[in-house]
């Protein structure tokens, strides 16, 4: 056996290092990518939507890079897990801007995570497109803030409008309204809108309560609500409690001419799978449905790509909720950057204020406050739901759009509680 000298060993190691590095060199990213930074809730309570938004962002990144990037520059995503903890957000954005020196920042998902990032973003003068924040800029009044959310800048007057517009067409005009909402900002804004618009239409509010997010058993609350025999029931809930609330409603056989309103949860595949027929005839706020009236250019292609990867990534398997909006959030940045040519924050903000954006969720324009100039809160109804099979939600007919009129795809079925 030949013995290797120390010098030979050194040459061998050096050669091996060069060979090992070669593929890395061959496939290295072209220089000077556009770096888009943000925090995202990849763990904690907001992770279901956070992780599925991230998948949508990755699909956009792959699409745009496959087309040669933006103005010839590839796109790189720089993101950190904020653990659904608002306290982590300012530090992460400081790191993104001061250490990572990203070119563009966008937001994590939800109002509660967007608001703490605002002071840092504003201090650096960044143009900022947020994802599903509700009324975040009401207090900040930042002129470079843009919101990828359908709620618009007057949530009180618009959020629950569809619910009451549809209720007005019921064969028996409703007279009483019950409101139940979880103690968080979004649900309380939803409840406030229902209260405001309900009173405006002369409805008598017979039950108006909030519940803490830690509520486990909804039976006593639903029973007390049922005792008031309301014609309309407006619920503002979040995914962990939407399930318990609807289970209790089903067990106690609560029926109303219309029930639902502002629940966050029934839009999510896992909730749809478990609740199955309990969702039947539920009338609820939504942002997207696979109805022909929402067949915007590119949305089906996006959903196909998303659904092909969702199971492996362990995220919502349908992508019928905020996922197309997360993709559209990046499309806004893409189109503004393409026009401006460089990450000049003032120019980007001016471009976003001035132009209409063509996205997978339709054409959209931002108003003065950065919210959508035209709010587009949908009111949908689950119809003909007899089981928890999710295939039906990929086709039209399971979640029909009742409002707005321009996107309407079906007629109201009443009451809630009637079999499919």
């Amino acid at each position: 056996m030949t013995r290797m000298t120390r010098r030979e060993l050194g040459r061998l190691a050096a050669g091996a290092t060069v060979i090992a590095a070669a593929p890395g060199l061959a496939f290295a990213q072209p220089a000077n990518p556009i770096r888009i930074g943000y925090s995202m809730s990849l763990s904690g309570g907001l992770a279901p939507n956070g992780r599925s938004s991230l998948l949508a962002h990755k699909i956009w990144q792959e699409d745009v890079n496959a087309r040669g990037g933006i103005n010839g520059r590839p796109v790189e995503l720089v993101y950190y897990d904020d653990q659904s903890a608002p306290a982590n957000v300012p530090g992460l954005y400081t790191k993104l801007l001061d250490v990572d020196r990203v070119d563009i920042v966008t937001s994590s998902y939800a109002t509660v995570m967007i608001a703490p990032s605002m002071p840092v973003v504003m201090q650096r003068g960044m143009a900022y497109v947020s994802l599903f924040g509700a009324g975040v800029n009401e207090a900040f009044k930042y002129d470079r803030y843009f919101s990828m959310n359908v709620t618009g800048d007057d949530i009180r007057s618009t959020y629950a409008r569809g619910f009451f517009e549809v209720a007005a067409k019921l064969p028996t005009p409703p007279r009483t309204l019950a409101i139940l909402a979880v103690d968080n900002e979004f649900a309380q804004k939803a409840a406030d809108s229902a209260r405001f618009l309900g009173r405006q239409r002369g409805l008598r509010i017979v039950y108006d309560r909030s519940y803490p997010p830690t509520t486990v058993d909804f039976a006593p609350t639903v029973r007390a609500l049922a005792a008031t025999r309301p014609d309309l029931v407006f619920l503002g809930s979040y995914p962990p409690d939407s399930n318990g609330l609807l289970r209790a409603i089903s067990e106690l056989r609560l029926s109303a001419q219309m029930l639902g309103g502002g629940m966050v949860g029934p839009q999510i595949a896992a909730v749809q799978a478990q609740l199955g027929p309990i969702l039947n005839n539920l009338v609820n706020w939504d942002v997207y449905s696979n109805e022909p009236t929402m067949d915007f250019p590119g949305v089906r292609a996006f959903q196909e790509k998303y659904r092909a990867r969702a199971a492996a990534e362990q995220v919502d398997v349908l992508g019928n909720y905020l996922q197309p909006y997360a993709y559209a959030q990046m499309q806004v940045i893409e189109q503004a950057l393409a026009r401006v040519g460089k990450p000049d924050q003032a120019a980007l903000a001016a471009d976003m204020h001035a132009n209409v954006f063509k996205t997978v969720v339709g054409d959209l324009k931002f108003g003065a406050s950065g919210e959508w100039a035209e709010p587009r809160n949908l009111l949908v109804q689950f119809q003909g739901i007899t089981d928890g099979d999710l295939e039906k939600y990929k086709r039209p007919g399971a979640k029909v759009i009742l409002y707005p009129e321009s996107l309407k795809s079906g007629e109201l079925r009443a009451p809630y509680g009637a079999p499919a």
């Binding site: 763990s43 279901p48 803490p212 609350t221």
Partner: protein, 294 residues
């Protein structure tokens, strides 16, 4: 109080007892670790949720009832508990650092479990509904959903078996003894560390059973345990720390107070009134309902 209110009250009490059964399941394991062994296992609810996730996994794979799956999982969870205690004892208890550093250790365990569940299962809600979870018994004006009743009875049976074991077996009596005087136990040629390891394993096995019960009641997600942390410690303290009958009674009381308050004054008041009730009990009986003064 008119007839309608009486029906609401009756239903509030019954649903309070039902949810109390779930609280008892969640708190019984803690009554052993926290109440008897003086180990502030803040990760107990997270372990319960991990039990829930694995119940879904096992129940789906084998096509069995979630409660049966939870029973099968109690064995590996017992072993997991003994391993956690061995680590805790080696690094903290043995050195006398169990107070603050031990608490930090269990905080760490809790976060590791939560993140581990997200990594392994994803952040989505998981559920496994047996057919009876959609059946509600109507007893006159009172509604009794089997979704709440069956896991509650299952939990009571598990706690009852544990109580018998603690009262009737030598090892059970040794667990009670180690809670009072570990040195005296050593003088009787019984290794207190071995007894504590065994008892902690039992407490974690109960977390698996509670997780199975929880899955029937509601879907679980990795952070579901946070909802229960305050409640299970409150129930454990109100019941009298190491007392299983006290734990059950406190859990029922907690559930009934929560639900009756939610019925008549709105659910926002429930936690405040329930925890206020805890303070009231402690004001008159600092040792808890069934606890003994040192």
């Amino acid at each position: 109080m008119d007839g309608g209110d009486l029906i609401l009250l009756l239903n509030g009490v019954v649903s309070g007892l039902l949810i109390g059964g779930i609280y008892a399941a969640a708190a019984a394991g803690l009554a052993i670790s926290f109440g008897m062994l003086d180990i502030v296992n803040i990760a107990h609810p997270a372990l319960m949720v991990a039990g829930g996730f694995l119940t879904v996994l096992l129940g789906t794979a084998l096509g069995i009832d979630p409660l049966l799956a939870a029973l099968l999982l109690a064995v590996p969870f017992y072993l997991l508990g003994t391993a956690i205690y061995a680590m805790y004892h080696h690094f903290f208890e043995r050195r006398g650092d169990e107070a603050l550093q031990g608490l930090a250790f269990f905080f760490g365990v809790m976060f590791i479990i939560e993140v581990g569940l997200v990594m392994a299962f994803g952040p989505e809600q998981r559920f496994l509904d047996p057919a009876y979870a959609y059946v509600t018994l109507r007893l006159g004006e009172v509604d009794v959903p089997l979704r709440m009743l069956v896991p509650g009875l299952f939990a009571m049976a598990a706690i009852g078996a544990l109580w018998l074991f603690l009262r009737r077996s030598f090892t059970g009596l040794a667990i009670a003894a180690v809670a009072q005087d570990a040195e005296a136990l050593r003088l009787m040629a019984v290794n207190p560390v071995r007894i504590k390891r065994f008892a902690f394993g039992l407490s974690i096995a109960l977390a698996a059973i509670a997780g199975g019960a929880l899955v029937v009641v509601q879907p679980v997600e990795p952070s579901s345990g946070q909802v229960f942390i305050g409640r299970v410690f409150a129930v454990c303290i109100m019941g009298g720390m190491g007392s299983l009958p006290g734990c059950i009674l406190a859990a029922f009381l907690f559930g009934v107070v929560e639900n009756v308050t939610a019925t008549f004054y709105g659910p926002s008041w429930s936690p405040a009134v329930a925890f206020g009730w805890l303070l009231l009990v402690l004001a008159f009986r600092p040792q808890g309902l069934f606890g003994k003064l040192a």
